[in-house]
Symmetry: C2
């Protein structure tokens, strides 16, 4: 019988932290005690959990003591400081920031794809980038059947990936534009309302963004193909929730679209919606707040011998962040001492 | 000395037709007489031109008589019927619909790229698809220097490509969503406000859209490379005006991003904005209502030997439609009999 666990959520008042609480509740995660923590300015003093208002306490060494698992929905600098504090106190940390993802000693896990990577973890397990999570599920299905040669991806990412302030900025700017007033930018460098920004996270010297590098590096690590050819452009679009990706895949062996549809439909965590004649394809609005990675527009790319297009949509706050972290916690529960 | 011409604009009350009138005015096109025509239900009874209100007359054989050049901003079925009427009456037709684009006897022209294709035209010249126009300018620059092997493109297309009703639908739905009310769809099969639809024009049996096929077929015809490897996903985004394209190009020979920047900067009709450190990249809102094809985020794609990424933005109503058509008319003016 599974024991229940003492769970901490760090960054509990942010968009991902709040979603973690929802997902823990919905999945009836065996919680013995829940500690909601936040650093810096709190967005709220209490958060709802299990039908009650839970006080939000500061993210400190004291509050990280006596926990079994801590879910970190914090940025890289906060994770850098407090993940080691949590593990030193005996907890396992599941970290959603980029801080530990590429550390060779830290497993980077999507439970449907590489649960085996968790074996022998040293107390920290990294949750991948939202866009990475949603592409590795279909990519792993394709890889098992036909092998991967090269991946070219262009993303359509919602503002909730930036956080609560960005959601407000999109709403405020949209109202302003519709009223013929100027759009005021604060979170983004330029107007996001009714506009697309090819800019997510910082630029490096070669002109790639960190988000683009993350998708490439993390996909290679999760799939265990260090030399996978991969090219990515990441774009922020004026959508509140869920990310979409136009995913072009060149495979080693032929993979018929019909066969891909069957394989993807059978894969855990993946749902196929691919009936274009009746507008049957996933969109961000239609699939938000669901747990699955949705795949549609599966079709042949005739420009290479073995080419396949897919349109991949997932809720960046759920499977792209909170749900994936809780699924990792579920795998951990089984290994906790009784 | 150039003579002035008797110009007709068919579909003068639509989004593209109105833009044609603006562009003719702005460029001081030598208009002897302008006939504004519309078929079916008129959006308005007059249109502004040269500081006056011009009556809109029905698109008929009678009104198509005695014109030198007719710009057709009409759909395929109207163009199919009336382009031959215009040419039979002695006019040259510049048609913005898909109707004649792939006809081997009809030149498909982007003046900066293939003006030579106009030689010996038979009275009809086709204006390419909006997304095609904006990618062939940078592609031709890259091709001349380094040759093209394969192109993978994902688009971010605004609703103005669908027309005036779609612009209203995006505004109305956006207001409704912001007010917590249901979004009512009429023009698009599902909500476009705060959503992306991987669906432009009809689907074919292989699951591609006609828009995707158009971009492939038309690019090959304009560049004169029938076998060019090309893969496209077209996506409608909640943006009012201008299209963006994430354009991945594999070249025959190496092309350094710095060299590409220099070549593109020198190309007529192209403007480079590529200073990512200070958010220097083109966006749809920032470049709307300009004549150029804007290119930014020029960087190496390391997944192939000679790979290059570009982010290409242009105003779909201007260079993507009206301006390109008027530029074709300007080339025609020189060949009209005195």
């Amino acid at each position: 019988m599974k024991r229940s666990a003492r769970i901490g959520v760090a960054g509990a008042t942010g968009a991902v932290g709040l979603e973690m609480l929802r997902v823990l509740e919905e999945r009836s995660f065996p919680v013995e005690k829940l500690t909601a923590m936040a650093s810096g300015r709190f967005d709220s003093r209490t958060v709802g959990f299990g039908g009650a208002d839970l006080p939000v306490v500061p993210l400190t060494e004291e509050n990280l003591a006596d926990l079994d698992i801590v879910l970190f929905a914090t940025g890289a600098s906060v994770s850098r400081e407090f993940v080691p504090v949590a593990t030193a106190a005996g907890a396992v940390a599941i970290d959603n920031s980029r801080m530990f993802r590429m550390d060779p000693d830290v497993p980077l896990v999507v439970p449907e794809v590489n649960p085996q990577a968790m074996a022998g973890h040293g107390g920290v397990i990294a949750n991948p980038n939202c866009s990475t999570i949603q592409i590795v599920l279909p990519l792993e299905v394709v890889r098992r059947e036909a092998g991967l040669v090269r991946v070219v991806a262009s993303t359509y990412q919602s503002v909730s990936g930036t956080g609560v302030a960005a959601i407000e900025e999109l709403a405020d700017q949209s109202r302003a534009v519709l009223d013929g007033e100027p759009a005021v930018s604060g979170v983004y460098p330029t107007q996001i309302a009714f506009n697309c920004l090819p800019h997510i996270d910082d630029f490096d010297e070669e002109g790639h963004t960190r988000e683009e590098r993350k998708m490439i590096d993390e996909t290679r690590k999760i799939l265990g193909i260090p030399g996978l050819g991969m090219a990515v452009t990441c774009v922020r679009v004026p959508v509140f929730r869920s990310h979409a990706v136009a995913l072009n895949v060149e495979t080693e062996h032929p993979l018929d679209p019909d066969e891909a549809r069957v394989l993807l439909s059978a894969a855990p965590g993946v749902r196929v919606l691919d009936d274009p004649e009746s507008a049957g394809y996933p969109t961000q609005v239609d699939t938000s707040d669901t747990d699955d990675v949705w795949v549609g527009r599966i079709r042949r790319d005739e420009s290479v011998e073995n080419g396949l297009w897919m349109w991949v949509v997932a809720d960046n706050l759920r499977k792209g962040a909170a749900l994936n972290a809780v699924q990792i916690a579920e795998l951990l529960i089984d290994e906790l001492p009784d």
